[in-house]
């Protein structure tokens, strides 16, 4: 089920602008990796190359390889649409489809890809909502619009929607940044559970969160102002937060950083 991600010498561009340079890292299956670093250093950009969402932006392109269990995602024969079915994504701001009910939101990925069997869809909806810890809150109003839920519920709905297509990797870009502490805790618990089935990569600005949920932490930083971002250090979360190799990492996590 869960797959291993191997990134090697990845350069990422927006048109002529090189946003990120020379990233190499490995994410083990069934683990949580956190991306931390100052704003604008390219965390989201790197994350979006892991399911080929980067190239949706006009001018977006990459150099280097991203492999999923030895399968190069950027090989010419690879279909980006198929890649995105394998590598799911949850965005910073909850974005349920406004025209759809809660049920249809969760089933959207399957429905839009041609699954019609009502029984199968209902099963997936229930399983995914349970997986996202939302089932009990919404089971009596599955036909109400998804946009009518609270922000935290919407974000869990988006997680349910992402896991409904049964991906092998789940990418999350600051999934809690728009949420209150209680919803944040709910989602962190959820990430802990998801870890048993999926490979999870999460971007966060919250050090405690990175320390709480992740097994491995990657620290990104800009080389200098105006220069591309780069991966400074990636290691076990424990090591990064107790005894990092690089001075820049230590400065950043201890808050001594401009």
């Amino acid at each position: 089920m869960a797959k291993r991600i191997d990134v090697k010498d990845l350069d990422i561009y927006y048109g002529d602008f090189k946003a990120v340079e020379g990233v190499s890292l490995t994410v083990e299956p069934r683990s949580v990796t956190a991306f931390i670093g100052p704003s604008g250093c390219g965390k989201s950009t790197v994350l979006r190359t892991l399911n080929r969402m980067h190239e949706v932006i006009p001018g977006g392109r990459v150099d280097g390889t991203v492999a999923l269990d030895d399968q190069d995602l950027y090989a010419p024969s690879m279909d980006p649409v198929a890649v995105r079915r394998t590598v799911g994504m949850v965005f910073q701001r909850p974005n349920p489809f406004p025209t759809m009910s809660i049920r249809d939101n969760v089933a959207a990925g399957l429905k839009l890809n041609g699954v019609k069997n009502k029984k199968q869809l209902d099963e997936v909806v229930e399983k995914s909502l349970k997986g996202a810890n939302l089932w009990n809150e919404v089971k009596d109003r599955l036909d109400k619009p998804g946009a009518g839920l609270s922000g935290g519920q919407q974000q869990r709905l988006c997680i349910a929607r992402a896991i409904a297509v049964d991906p092998q990797v789940l990418l999350m870009d600051e999934p809690c940044s728009a949420l209150d502490p209680i919803s944040t805790l709910a989602i962190e618990d959820l990430i802990n559970e998801l870890k048993s089935k999926y490979t999870v990569v999460i971007v966060t600005h919250n050090m405690q969160q990175a320390a709480r949920v992740s097994d491995q932490t990657a620290f990104f930083n800009l080389k200098a102002t105006g220069q591309p971002g780069r991966l400074v250090e990636v290691d076990d979360t424990q090591k990064i937060f107790s005894n990092p190799t690089e001075k820049a990492t230590e400065d950043y996590i201890s808050g001594r950083f401009g």
């Binding site: 969402m53 006009p58 965005f91 974005n95 489809f97 025209t99 959207a108 890809n113």
Partner: protein
């Protein structure tokens, strides 16, 4: 610090500060009042022609519409000096031509807008967008003359109702493109990305996410464009002269419409015709009004709300 203490001490003598503030705010109040009066005046001036037109149409044409024959009979065999007959031939013609025009314009316009918003990059998109701008600016009489030149002069065909529809199509396409474009741009990019991230291909994302999200807006735009096209007269005068009988064939003979009925009756300055002018005018206003209401109704009761 010092201001605080002075405030404390001088809190009791009320005259000084209140005079001070009162002076300033009364100057502001005067300006506010002047601006308010000017705006109301402008609003009322703008309202005068509207109320006047509506008033005349209802006052002078209302009687005609209350007669059931207005909705059931044509003017077949009724001379301009005689009363009686109805407008059903013209109403039918207007609805048929508007419907056919919409049938041609809406797919072309909506698809063009989808191309421009979802796919258009670079030179081709810029050119298309520029052409739509030019089309928007074409006066209806010029569109009519163009179709006349091609249809009658070059190909040697008869003047037919379908030719009218083609001229109206030229006028409707740009409005449909522009309004649909606006609606598609309103759909947040996050929804497209959410759909892509589920492994949904782009075309399906457009069909199942983007269009449904902006559907009510697109329909409203189409209806408003249609309302405008219904009142167009220049193409009708040039390509679709009036006839007093019911005609439903787009490819043969003439088809009467409300604008040409108005134009025709207006030329005959006897009382029964004058009544028909106002009756047909009011009917046209009502049709356009109904379309507007329908547009607003659809947009209000859409599922999407921000």
């Amino acid at each position: 610090m010092s201001t605080l203490s002075t405030l404390d001490e001088s809190a009791l003598p009320t005259t000084a500060p209140s005079d001070d503030f009162g002076g300033k705010s009364s100057a502001r109040a005067v300006k506010d009042q002047v601006a308010r009066v000017v705006m109301w005046a402008a609003f009322l001036v703008a309202l005068i022609p509207l109320v006047w037109i509506l008033g005349s149409a209802v006052f002078k044409g209302g009687q005609m519409l209350l007669d059931l024959t207005w909705w059931t009979h044509s003017q077949n065999g009724i001379t301009s000096r005689r009363e009686g007959g109805g407008a059903v031939h013209a109403i039918q013609g207007t609805l048929i031509q508007a419907g056919v025009t919409a049938l041609i314009s809406v797919p072309i316009g909506v698809l063009t807008a989808i191309y421009l918003v979802e796919y258009g990059r670079g030179r081709l998109a810029k050119t298309v967008s520029f052409m739509v701008d030019i089309l928007t600016g074409i006066p209806s009489i010029v569109a009519a003359l163009f179709v006349y030149a091609v249809w009658v002069t070059t190909f040697g065909f008869q003047r037919l109702p379908i030719a009218v529809c083609l001229a109206l199509t030229m006028l409707m396409i740009p409005t449909v493109v522009r309004s649909t474009e606006e609606m598609l741009k309103l759909v947040p990019n996050e929804l497209r990305e959410a759909s892509y991230a589920l492994g949904v291909p782009k075309w399906k994302t457009i069909m199942k996410i983007v269009i449904p999200t902006s559907f009510s807006g697109i329909v409203t735009g189409v209806l408003l464009g249609l309302a405008r096209v219904m009142g167009e007269t220049a193409p009708l005068i040039i390509l679709g002269p009036y006839t007093a009988v019911i005609a439903t064939n787009l490819f043969d003979g003439l088809m009467p419409t409300l604008p040409t009925m108005i134009f025709q009756s207006y030329g005959e300055s006897v009382q029964p015709s004058v009544d028909r002018v106002w009756g047909a005018s009011l009917t046209l206003i009502l049709l356009v009004f109904l379309l507007n209401i329908a547009g607003r109704f659809i947009s209000r009761f859409s599922k999407v709300r921000n």
